[in-house]
Amino acid sequence: MIFSIVIYSAPFTTQSASTALRFSETLIAEGHKIYRLFFYSDGVHNASSLTIAPQDEKSLQAEWDALIKVNKLDSVVCVSSALKRGVLNNEEAERHGLAGHSLRDSSEISGLGQFIDAYIHSDRVISFG
């Protein structure tokens, strides 16, 4: 089956984003396809590159990054959610005259059209958070 995953919540505060990651990993392990990951609202924090995990904890952002890269997934952060939360790629940082960028290169910034598109092209869309 073709799935898309929508993540609304930030890492750590609640379990949802972590559950979304485990669910996505399991889908792939079970032979399903993931059409898109879409990070909306606080979910965009899952795609931040400017995070440091404590030594005895896993970095959820690094785990997402690995999952996306290993499986060549399409991963999108919502542009309006991301910009106001400081999750920017290099292009956006330069455009707005900001000192640094903070989006992992495994995700791209795009609009809600990609959210609608995910519904149209997936058998199931599962939301977390």
């Binding site: 609202s41 795009s110 809600l112 059209g113 609608i116 519904y119 149209i120």
Partner: protein, 126 residues
């Protein structure tokens, strides 16, 4: 936005269930519905549960540093969202009636809402 969505038209039903201020859910739901109309999908919009508070007249989000969500709702039909429903049980539970509401909505029973969900291709609950 990238116009990558292809036809045929699908029916999306958005169910907005949260109060207008204090959380971002009401705004997220509205933004997603507007995106669906931009991509020329058939869109139903339902206010249910605490979401009916979004419809109250005389909102002023400015007092708490927020945008006034009600102003955006008044533009729903301009965006091509003509099918706007309100869960009449949710209104009644909150001692509200259509006279309190900012825009014209079609009251629906829980059974009618269930039928609407049944005939939709996608239901987005926020």
């Amino acid at each position: 936005m990238d116009k990558t969505v292809t036809k045929p038209k699908k029916m999306f039903t958005f169910i907005s269930r949260q109060a207008p201020y204090g959380k971002d859910r009401a705004q997220l739901c509205l933004d997603a519905a507007l995106a669906a109309t931009v991509f020329e999908q058939k869109v139903n919009y339902v206010f249910s549960d605490d979401g009916v508070y979004q419809l109250l007249k005389h909102q002023n989000g400015g007092i708490i540093g927020s945008k006034t969500l009600g102003n955006a709702l008044e533009a729903l039909d301009l965006y091509g969202i003509e099918e706007v429903f309100v869960n009449e049980a949710s209104l009644r539970q909150r001692n509200l009636n259509p006279r309190h509401l900012l825009i014209k909505t079609t009251p629906v029973t829980n059974t009618q809402l269930a039928n609407l969900i049944l005939k939709s291709d996608f239901v987005i609950n926020l």
